[in-house]
C-alpha cells in the first residue's frame, strides 16, 4: 500500500506537462542514438549535463534516464537489420535477429524486440519500486570471489554458443580472453600486449570488436560472394503480427530473462551487456529447440532484449540506493545528479522522494512511449533493407566508422575496426563462431581481475572461492551446466546400445 501511495506521488511528478515532454524527448533522442552503431548513451548523457544543470533534479534525471533506456531500446534495430549492434547491450540480439531479417522476417524480429524490451523494462520497474531499498544489500554482497564465480558460470555458455565444433568455439573464446587482456593491468600496472602503443594502454573498446566481427565481417562476406542476384530477395519485411503460438513460445523466455536481467543490472559492474548474454545462453539451454538458436529463433531475440532493458533499469538500484555507479553510464548520471545538488545514497529516498519516485514513475511512461513510438516506425525503418545492396553495404560501412570514430576520435580505432572485420571474415570462412569470442571478451577481463583480487585479499588461498556461499553455489551450477549435457549424452548412448 505504501509503495502504491509512493508511486502515485511519483506519477504526480512525472505527469507534470514539462516532465512528460522531457520523458518524450529523452526516449526519442535515446532511440535515435541507440540505432546508430557505436554512438552510445554515455557520450550523449555527458553532452546533456550542461542542459540539465538548470533543471529541477527530478526533471533532469527523468530526461537522462529516458535517453539511457531509450538507447538500449533502440539499439536492437541496427543489430537486427544490419548485424551492426547499436549499443553494447544489443550485441546478443543480432545472433538471431539478423538471421531472421535475412529470412524476410525483419518486421517480426523488430516487433518481438519492441515487445520484449517493453515487458523487460516494465517488469524491472516494478521490481525497482518494490524492492530497491532492500536490494542495496544484494548489490554489495558480491565481492571479487562472487564475481569470479558468476563470470565462470557465464563462460560455460561458450559450450552452447559454439554450434558445430566445440574446439573451434573454445579457440574463439581463448582469442576473446586474450583481446580482453590487452592494456594496463589494473592489478600490477604492467602493460600487456600493447607493443608500446599508447592507444592500446586502455585496452580495446568492446564495441570496436563487436562492430568489426559482426557488421564489417558481414559486409566483407557479402562482397566476397559478389553482388550475386542468386540470393533470395532481402526486400521482404514480413508481417509484424505474431501468431498465438509464437506469443506462447516467447512468453516464458521474456519472463525469465526479465528477472535475470534485473538482478544482473543490480550488481555493480555487470549491466546490460552481460545481462543480455546471460539471458540468451540461459534460454538456449532451456529451449527444446536450442539448436536453432543462432539461425533465427524468435526466442533468441526475445530473451536478450528483455534482459538488457531489465538490466538497464536494474542498474539504477546501486545508483539510487547506494550512490555508487555500476557502469560508465550510471557514473555519468551520478556526476550529473551531484552537479544538480542531489547526493544519491541511502538517505536519498527520504530526503529527495521527488527524484526517486518521480524517476520510477517516469520510467513507466517512458517505456509506454517507446512502444508506441517504435511499433509504427518499424515498417519505415525496415525499409532500409529495400536499398540496393551496394548502397546498403556502403551505409553499414559508414555507420560503423562514424560510430567508432565518434567514440574516441581516434584513427587508430578505425584501423582496429578494419582488422577485426578481417578477423571476423576469416572466422566465418573457416567456420569459427563469433559469439564465444565476444562473450569471452566481455567476461574475461572481469573474471581475471576478480580472481586475482580475491586471491590477493585471501593471501593466495584458493579456498576463498568455496568458503563464500554465493560463490560456491555459482561454481556448483557452473560445473553442473557443463557436466549434465555430457552425462545426458552418455546415458542416451548407453541406452541406444542396450
Amino acid at each position: 500500500m505504501e509503495a502504491f501511495n509512493n508511486l502515485m506521488y511519483g506519477f504526480g511528478i512525472a505527469l507534470e506537462p514539462m516532465n512528460i515532454a522531457y520523458v518524450f524527448f529523452g526516449v526519442f533522442a535515446g532511440t535515435i542514438i541507440g540505432m546508430l552503431p557505436g554512438l552510445g548513451p554515455i557520450s550523449a548523457l555527458a553532452l546533456m549535463i550542461p542542459i540539465t544543470f538548470a533543471m529541477e533534479p527530478a526533471s533532469g534525471l527523468i530526461l537522462m534516464a529516458g535517453v539511457y533506456y531509450g538507447a538500449i531500446f533502440g539499439g536492437s534495430t541496427s543489430s537486427i537489420l544490419l548485424n551492426a549492434p547499436g549499443v553494447a547491450g544489443t550485441v546478443a540480439t543480432s545472433f538471431d535477429g539478423y538471421p531472421l531479417a535475412k529470412q524476410g522476417m525483419a518486421g517480426k524480429a523488430l516487433a518481438i524486440a519492441a515487445y520484449s524490451s517493453f515487458i523487460g523494462g516494465t517488469v524491472s520497474i516494478i521490481f525497482l519500486m518494490l524492492v530497491a531499498p532492500l536490494l542495496g544489500k544484494v548489490a554489495v554482497s558480491f565481492g571479487p570471489a562472487e564475481y569470479f564465480a558468476l563470470m565462470v558460470l557465464g563462460l560455460t555458455a561458450v559450450v552452447s554458443l559454439s554450434d558445430k565444433s566445440l574446439v573451434k568455439g573454445l579457440i574463439a573464446a581463448v582469442v576473446g580472453v586474450m583481446i580482453s587482456i590487452i592494456g594496463i593491468d589494473l592489478q600490477t600496472g604492467t602493460e600487456r600486449y600493447t607493443f608500446g602503443a599508447a592507444h592500446l594502454l586502455d585496452g580495446i573498446d568492446f564495441l570496436v570488436v563487436a562492430l568489426g566481427i559482426f557488421a564489417l565481417a558481414e559486409v566483407f562476406y557479402m562482397l566476397l560472394r559478389g553482388g550475386g542476384g542468386k540470393e533470395q530477395p532481402r526486400n521482404a519485411i514480413g508481417s509484424l503480427k505474431l501468431t498465438g503460438r509464437e506469443c506462447r513460445d516467447i512468453a516464458a523466455p521474456i519472463g525469465r530473462s526479465s528477472i535475470l536481467g534485473f538482478f544482473t543490472g543490480v550488481l555493480p559492474g555487470a549491466g546490460a551487456t552481460i545481462g543480455s548474454f546471460l539471458g540468451y545462453s540461459m534460454e538456449k539451454r532451456l529451449a527444446k529447440d536450442g539448436d536453432t538458436f543462432g539461425k533465427g529463433n524468435i526466442k533468441g531475440v526475445a530473451a536478450p532484449e528483455a534482459a538488457n532493458n531489465a538490466a538497464c533499469t536494474g542498474s539504477f538500484v546501486p545508483l539510487l540506493t547506494l550512490g555508487v555507479p555500476g557502469s560508465g553510464t550510471t557514473a555519468v548520471l551520478l556526476g550529473a545528479l551531484l552537479v544538480m545538488g542531489v547526493t544519491p545514497g541511502p538517505a536519498m529516498i527520504e530526503s529527495r522522494p521527488d527524484v526517486f519516485w518521480g524517476v520510477i514513475a517516469s520510467m513507466y511512461i517512458g517505456n509506454l512511449f517507446l512502444l508506441v513510438l517504435n511499433l509504427p516506425l518499424i515498417p519505415l525503418i525496415a525499409k532500409i533493407l529495400d536499398m540496393p545492396r551496394p548502397l546498403l553495404l556502403a551505409l553499414i560501412l559508414i555507420f560503423c566508422m562514424i560510430g567508432v570514430y565518434g567514440m574516441s576520435f581516434s584513427v587508430f580505432d578505425l584501423l582496429l575496426l578494419l582488422g577485426f572485420g578481417l578477423l571476423g571474415l576469416g572466422m566465418r570462412l573457416f567456420g569459427f563462431p563469433a559469439a564465444p569470442l565476444i562473450l569471452a571478451l566481455i567476461l574475461g577481463a572481469i573474471m581475471e581481475e576478480s580472481m586475482r583480487r580475491a586471491l590477493q585479499i585471501s593471501g593466495g588461498d584458493w579456498s576463498i572461492f568455496i568458503d563464500k556461499p554465493i560463490s560456491m553455489w555459482l561454481l556448483i551450477i557452473a560445473v553442473l551446466s557443463l557436466v549434465l549435457p555430457l552425462a545426458k549424452k552418455a546415458i542416451a548412448g548407453v541406452r541406444a546400445r542396450a
Partner: protein, 332 residues
C-alpha cells in the same frame, strides 16, 4: 607556422619582435583568444578530469567571463598518455588547454608516458580534494592508529582503493603507512576500478578498509551509514558532513596528501596567453556560480598561479618518486 612564429617572437627574440611587430606587443598585455578554446579532458566522460572541464567551461560561459567558447573535448587513453602525446605536438598553440592532476606526474614515473609535467606549460592549480580512510561501521578499528597497528601485525590486511597500483590512492596510503612507521610495501593494496567500486566492496565486507577521495565518500557518510571514516589527509578539518572526521595530524601521524586538480597548456604557450588564462580562472573562482558547483561536488579552492603551480609540481614529483621507489614501482 603561425604558432611557431608567435613563439619565436615572444620567447627567443623579444627585442626584434617589438621592432618588427609593434602592434603585436601593444596587444601583448591584453591577449584574447581569437577562436574557440579546446579544453581537453584526457579521459572518458564521467571522471574527475571530465567533471572539472565541463564544470569550469559552463561557469565561464554562464558568468560571461570569456568572449570565446570553451569546447570540452574528451581524449581518452592510457590514463592520459594519449592526450598528452597529442598536446605535446601542438607547441605554442594558445587555444589548447587541458585538465590535470597527480597522474601527470605518476603515469610518467611509472614509465607509461613519454611526456611529463615539464613538457607542458602550467597555467593554474584550481582545486583540491583529500584522501579519506574508511572502514565498515561495525569495524573494530576506532582510530587510524588502531588500523596502522593491525596492518603492522598482519601485512595481509586488505586495503581497497579506486586506482591501479602506483597511482593516487596507492601512493596516498603507502605514504601514510610510511609516516606511521610501517614499510610502504607492507600495505596489501587491492586496486578497484573506481572509488565507488571500492566502497561497495567495503560495505559488503570484502575488504577491511578503503582509501578514496573525500569528496566521493562524503555522500556515503552520516547517520545510518554502513561505513565510517577514520581520517582525512587534509591539514585541517573539512566542513559539512566531513566535519567530524579527524585529520591524520590530529592522530599524531605527520602526513598530508592533496588530490589537486588544475589546468595546463601546450608546450611553450606564449606568456600573454598564460596570463590571460591565469586571470580568467582566478576570476572564475570568485563567482557565485563556481561556489555553488564547487560545494556540490565537494571540492575546495586551492588556487595557484602559473609559477607557483610549476614549483608545486616539481615538489610533488620528488615526493611521489620517493614513495614509488620504496614500493619498487618506479619505472625507467
Amino acid at each position: 607556422m603561425t604558432a611557431k612564429l608567435t613563439r619565436l617572437s615572444f620567447l627567443a627574440l623579444p627585442l626584434a619582435a617589438t621592432m618588427a611587430f609593434g602592434a603585436a606587443t601593444a596587444q601583448a598585455d591584453d591577449w584574447q583568444p581569437t577562436s574557440s578554446v579546446e579544453f581537453i579532458a584526457p579521459a572518458n566522460p564521467g571522471g574527475g578530469w571530465d567533471t572539472l572541464v565541463r564544470t569550469t567551461s559552463r561557469v565561464i560561459q554562464e558568468e560571461g567571463l570569456a568572449e570565446r567558447n570553451f569546447a570540452a573535448i574528451n581524449t581518452p587513453g592510457g590514463g592520459g598518455a594519449v592526450a598528452w602525446a597529442q598536446i605535446a605536438r601542438d607547441d605554442g598553440n594558445p587555444h589548447k588547454i587541458f585538465a590535470t592532476s597527480p597522474p601527470i606526474i605518476l603515469v610518467p614515473l611509472a614509465g607509461t608516458s613519454r611526456y611529463d609535467h615539464n613538457d607542458f606549460t602550467p597555467i593554474a592549480r584550481l582545486i583540491t580534494d583529500y584522501s579519506i580512510v574508511l572502514v565498515p561501521a561495525d569495524s573494530e578499528y576506532q582510530s587510524l592508529n588502531d588500523l596502522m597497528e593491525a596492518m603492522a601485525a598482519d601485512t595481509s590486511l586488505s586495503v581497497g582503493g579506486g586506482s591501479a597500483p602506483g597511482s593516487m590512492d596507492h601512493i596516498s596510503i603507502a605514504g601514510l603507512a610510511s609516516a606511521a612507521g610501517l614499510n610502504a610495501s607492507d600495505v596489501n593494496y587491492i586496486p578497484f576500478s573506481g572509488g565507488g567500486e571500492a566502497m561497495t566492496n567495503l560495505m559488503g565486507g570484502h575488504v577491511e578498509a578503503v582509501i578514496t577521495g573525500a569528496g566521493e565518500a562524503a555522500g556515503q557518510l552520516g547517520e545510518g551509514s554502513d561505513i565510517r571514516a577514520l581520517g582525512v589527509s587534509a591539514p585541517e578539518r573539512l566542513s559539512g558532513s566531513l566535519a567530524d572526521v579527524p585529520t591524520y595530524l590530529e592522530q599524531d601521524i605527520d602526513y598530508t596528501f592533496d588530490i589537486w586538480r588544475g589546468v595546463m597548456g601546450t608546450p611553450d604557450m606564449p606568456e600573454e596567453a598564460v596570463a590571460y588564462y591565469e586571470n580568467l580562472f582566478a576570476e572564475m573562482l570568485e563567482t557565485d556560480g563556481w561556489a555553488d558547483a564547487r560545494d556540490q561536488l565537494g571540492w575546495l579552492d586551492a588556487y595557484q598561479d602559473s609559477e607557483e603551480f610549476g614549483d608545486f609540481l616539481d615538489a610533488q614529483k620528488e615526493q611521489f618518486s620517493e614513495v614509488l621507489s620504496e614500493l619498487g614501482l618506479l619505472g625507467d
